[in-house]
Structures are given as C-alpha cells and as structure tokens.
C-alpha cells in the first residue's frame, strides 16, 4: 500500500462516518407536537388545566419531564443502533442537555416569582436552535432559530398577547417545520 492509497483510505473512512440528521429531526417533531398540543389544550380548556393554584405548574412541568425521559430513552436506543457517536453528535447532545437544564431552571424560577416563562423559554430555544443549525450547517434550522428570536423580541413590543398562542406560533416555525425539514432531508444527496 503506497501513500496515495493510505490518503484515499483515510478520506473514504472519514466520509463514511456521518452525523445522521434523522434522530435530531424526530426530537424536534416530537417536542414541537407535544408543546403545541399542550398549549392548545391549555388555551381551549383552561378550566381543566387551571383547576387549582398548582395544577397549571404541574401540567407544564410533569408532561415535559415525561417527554424528556422518553426522548432520552429514544436517543440512547438510536445511538446504540447506529453504533457510534460522532464529535458533532456529542456537541449537539451537550447543547440540548444544557437547554433542558436551563428550561427546568427557568420554569422553577418563574414558579417562585409567579412570572410567565414563555418568552424566556422561547428566546432560549431560539438561541439553541440557531447554534444547532450553525453547527450542523443546516440553514432551515438556523433560519427557524433566528425567526423565533425575532418573534420573541416582537412579543415584547405588543401588549396583551396570549402567551399560549405565542407558544404555538413560535414552536411551529422554530421547531416543528425545521424538524420536518431535518427528518425528511435525504442525506445521501
């Protein structure tokens, strides 16, 4: 084996090792649908979600926590099936792990101070999406993140907005649509 052949083998092997986008797309779609469904349910049935002082807080903490447990299980299972973890995959995992922790901190702080966390969470989501899009070089995710940040800024200037509907609009454009774009992206093309 000469040096040209060695270089060829190295290049071919590195090209074969890809960061698969589909599981990340699945995560976005899952969270998009979950948060949109929760927001719409809360909007149309406030008497159920807010039947006592703590019920809304439990609703917005418990269901996403169950979602986190499910997506963690799905990601571990998918990772084992792929059989390797790329450095890019690890970076994305850390970023979304930090987002999960920050989301929990924002929710707890907002409960203590009796504040609505929607704008803070959507802003954090926008930043995390933009970072993810830039890292994996996927423009639709980057665009979704930037649009979400701009949308959150816009909500600060418009008084009396319903935050549940803000959530629906923000998550649809910032997470659900980019998630579908990722999930159906043909990686070999």
């Amino acid at each position: 084996m000469n040096k040209e052949e060695q270089i060829k083998i190295i290049n071919e092997t590195i090209t074969k090792t890809k960061f698969t986008l589909k599981p990340l797309g699945y995560n976005f779609i899952f969270w998009g649908f979950l948060i949109i469904s929760m927001s719409l349910f809360h909007y149309f049935f406030p008497e159920i979600v807010q039947f006592n002082v703590y019920s809304a807080a439990i609703y917005w903490v418990l269901i996403p926590l169950l979602g986190m447990i499910y997506t963690t299980y799905y990601n571990i299972k998918t990772g084992k099936a792929i059989g390797y973890e790329t450095i890019l995959g690890r970076v994305i995992k850390i970023i979304w792990g930090v987002f999960g922790g920050s989301w929990l901190a924002i929710v707890i702080i907002s409960l203590i101070y009796n504040d609505n966390p929607v704008q803070d969470i959507l802003f954090l989501l926008g930043v995390t999406l933009t970072m993810s899009g830039l890292i994996i070089k996927f423009n639709k995710i980057t665009l979704g993140g930037i649009l979400l940040i701009l949308f959150v800024i816009y909500t600060y200037f418009v008084p009396d907005l319903n935050f549940l509907l803000v959530n629906v609009v923000g998550i649809t454009f910032g997470m659900l649509l980019p998630g579908f774009a990722l999930y159906f992206y043909k990686e070999n093309e």
């Binding site: 052949e5 083998i9 059989g83 790329t86 450095i87």
Partner: protein, 95 residues
Amino acid sequence: MNKEIEKLLFNPIRLKIISFLITVEYGNFNALIEITDASKGNLSIQLKKLNEAKLIKIKKYFQKSYPKTDYSITKKGRKDFECFFKQLELYNKKK
C-alpha cells in the same frame, strides 16, 4: 515518522479503524465491521494489535445480559495519527 506507527497503519484494516475512531467519540464492534468491511476474526486481531500499541482503548460492558464492546482512540493514538497524517500531507504537497 515513527516507524512503529508507520508499520501498524500500513495495514488497511488498522488504518480504517484509526481513521474512523479519530472522527468519533466511540464506536462499537458492528460499526467497525461496517466501516472496515473486515471479517469478525480479522477485525478482532487488528483491534487487539492497536490496543497493545495503546492507540485505542476498549470498554467492555453488558447490555441486556449480552456482552458489548466500545472502542475509542487514546490520546497517544490521536497524537500519533495526527503526526502520521501530517507526514502523508507533506509527502502529498512535495509531489
């Protein structure tokens, strides 16, 4: 160039293993079979040689009662491969 590394990576299977592990955090045996196109027996031998040269590390564990093995590159392996690759690049530029 380190003669030992040059000799070790002269084998295409071993070169594929190291080239793969340099780009990932870890890889399991099945992923390595897919990447290298080697038989199980041959792959095991090459992995053992790389482990003996301290270029890769092996993590064994049980998953649902089945033994599993993950492979990753060591600091020495990364450093040696980078040195090896730089030499190849230098040769390529000179040509």
